[in-house]
Amino acid sequence: MAEPLLSVRNLVVEFPTRRGVLRALDGVSFDIAPGEVLGMVGESGAGKSITGAAIIGLIEPPGRIAGGEVYLAGKRIDNLPPDAMRAIRGKRIGMVFQDPLTSLNPLYTVARQLVETIRTHLDLSEKEARAHAIGLLDRVGIPAAARRIDDYPHHFSGGMRQRVVIALALAAEPELVIADEPTTALDVSVQSQIIDVLKEICAERGASVMLITHDMGVIAETADRVAVLYAGRMAEIGPVRDVILNASHPYTRGLMGSIPTLQQDNDRLVQIPGTMPRLNAIPTGCAFNPRCEHSFEKCRVHAPHLIDVAPHHAAACWLAEEET
């Protein structure tokens, strides 16, 4: 692999609370190559959004990065002063949030929000920024962009609003786009269009994407590689095809069972029994061991680290070690 665009090393994120410190991320490591789409999956609460927030430096206090490093194009960014980090947000890392209905400021026109973003990062006049903004809206597929740009967010449908959000995230041509469940809040009918727009534009600009989703189907169609998170830890990471066809971690295998397209009988999805532990009750050893039908003594005592199971494909499971 070429030098990664983004490199996350042993990332630990903690939230101090009254009842002790919650570890939302515990030693997460992964890379994203230039132009690559990395899918990130996991159950609700697995730490997907927190990973995105940590990369972009927007963990809400009192939460904090308690360990590890984040590198962007080889340069460490997790310890930058606030102003330097701010200059990276939007400019080099764009972010798309889940709910387009609430991502835009209701009191300002789309034009105003686009122009302020563009002018924050690019040295353009008001007029040039506006022209640039119209071009962006056009590119994300908003019909009659030159006219619609002066509308307020509430004039747009959910799908159109998410296109506006994507235009905003891409306004300054970032090298990396973190899309946090960009379609969950949308009608099923427009979900794939939004994913396509995002993927196309990033591909044509050579931008990398970290695509967070619950939906293994989306990952299968969109991502180059996939990372599976479980209870704040990396369970498995590898090329999408490999992971789908040869999942090594029992948790991943359970997740794969829930892709409708891979499963002939849609009514009977394989469900993993039990639920993901809360952050204040993560078991010792492998976090997944109480739910795992293959667990053995070692799983209950020692937390597994990522073990290569195939080229570029690693799983954090003691079974994988046994096999290799």
């Binding site: 972009i56 927007l58 701010r86 200059a87 990276i88 947000r89 939007g90 400019k91 764009g94 972010m95 949030f97 709910d99 609430t102 991502s103 835009l104 400021n105 209701p106 009191l107 300002y108 026109t109 302020e116 973003t117 924050t120 990062h121 307020y152 509430h154 004039h155 959000v165 905003l168 995230a169 306004a171 300054a172």
Partner: protein, 328 residues
């Protein structure tokens, strides 16, 4: 937009009509107006003649119609106590009350919003905590007590500021008597303005703080940060404007309340405004003045409400569509 204004004006007119009805009932049925006009020795026949001459025997609707017609022309009758036209009395004292309310309202708004924003943006720290603690005192102390404490400290102990009255005033062309133009007038304004505005200021501050904290948690603020906008833009461009939308209503109502609550402050500071006039009129059961005061305060509330609605309309684009969508 025009339809919206017309609708609101019609609503306001209805409200005013109801208030006029109450004022009229007060005027007509609290005590006997004839008793208040004539002496003890007037004969019953004379009284009845006067009653007929004044139209007090006419049907209710006609009397009420006459009352409204007169009120529209600014005619609320003659004060029993001072034997002057009520409107004249009120107009003489209105500048004092309006100047006091304006200064304390503006100060309450500016300081309240600034302190609210400051404490919302700086949640930890000694100064924000101190402001929050002090604001509790502002909310819980009764107005007259604050007034008396201020008089004791600044007028009696320190002798920095006058404790009563308006100081020297200047009559402007048009008959407006202002205290703004003399230094004693300005000094006299300080203590009553603080007394009157302190409660509203702390209220606005706490409201702005709560609302701002709420707004800072919203997705569009997170997204604004994720777009790399400078803090200044995020806080004052995006968060503050959204904070002020709901605050506008409350603040408008508070301004109305300031004028209404001026009664207490004016009494404590012997401020020659309409509030003091009202209190004295209540003592003397001077019903025409009471009725006129009621109508006046209602009118002020209604006008403020109207302005607030229009501001809302101007600030929040979402209202504009809902209205136009409702029309289609």
């Amino acid at each position: 937009m025009l339809a919206f204004i017309i609708r609101r004006v019609v609503q306001s007119a209805i409200v005013m009509l109801v208030v006029a009805l109450v004022a009229f009932a007060l005027f007509r049925y609290v005590g006997d107006p004839i008793n208040s006009m004539v002496g003890q020795e007037t004969s019953l026949a004379d009284r009845e003649a006067l009653r007929t001459r004044l139209g007090l025997n006419d049907p209710f609707v006609i009397q009420f119609g006459r009352f409204v017609g007169n009120a529209l022309q600014g005619n609320f009758g003659i004060s029993y106590r001072l034997q002057q036209p009520v409107m004249e009395l009120i107009l003489q004292r209105l500048p004092a009350t309006l100047e006091l309310a304006l200064v304390s309202g503006l100060a309450a708004f500016i300081l309240g919003v600034s302190a609210g924003v400051y404490t919302a943006l700086n949640r930890r720290g000694v100064i924000p905590s101190a402001i929050m603690a002090a604001s509790l005192i502002g909310v819980s102390l009764p107005t007259f007590l604050i007034g008396i404490l201020l008089i004791w400290l600044f007028a009696v102990e320190l002798q920095w500021l006058p404790s009563f009255g308006r100081g020297d005033t200047v009559t402007l062309p048009g008959g407006w008597v202002t205290g703004f133009l003399t230094s004693s007038g300005r000094q006299s304004l300080i203590l009553p303005a603080i007394t009157l505005g302190l409660f509203q200021m702390t209220l606005i501050m706490r409201l702005v703080r709560a609302e701002m904290l709420e707004v800072l948690r919203t997705d569009y603020i997170k997204f604004a940060r994720a777009r790399g906008l400078p803090n200044r833009t995020v806080h004052f461009g995006h968060a503050l404007k959204n904070t002020l939308v709901p605050v506008i209503t409350i603040t408008g109502l508070q301004l109305g309340a300031i004028i209404a609550f001026a009664i207490i402050t004016e009494t404590v500071f012997q401020w020659p405004g309409v509030g003091a006039l009202f209190i004295n009129s209540v003592r003397a059961v001077d019903v025409p003045v009471m009725a006129a005061y009621l109508v006046l305060i209602a009118l002020i509330f209604v006008i403020i409400n109207l302005i607030v609605d229009l501001l809302y309309y101007a600030v929040d684009p979402r209202l504009r569509v809902e209205r136009s969508a409702a029309r289609h």
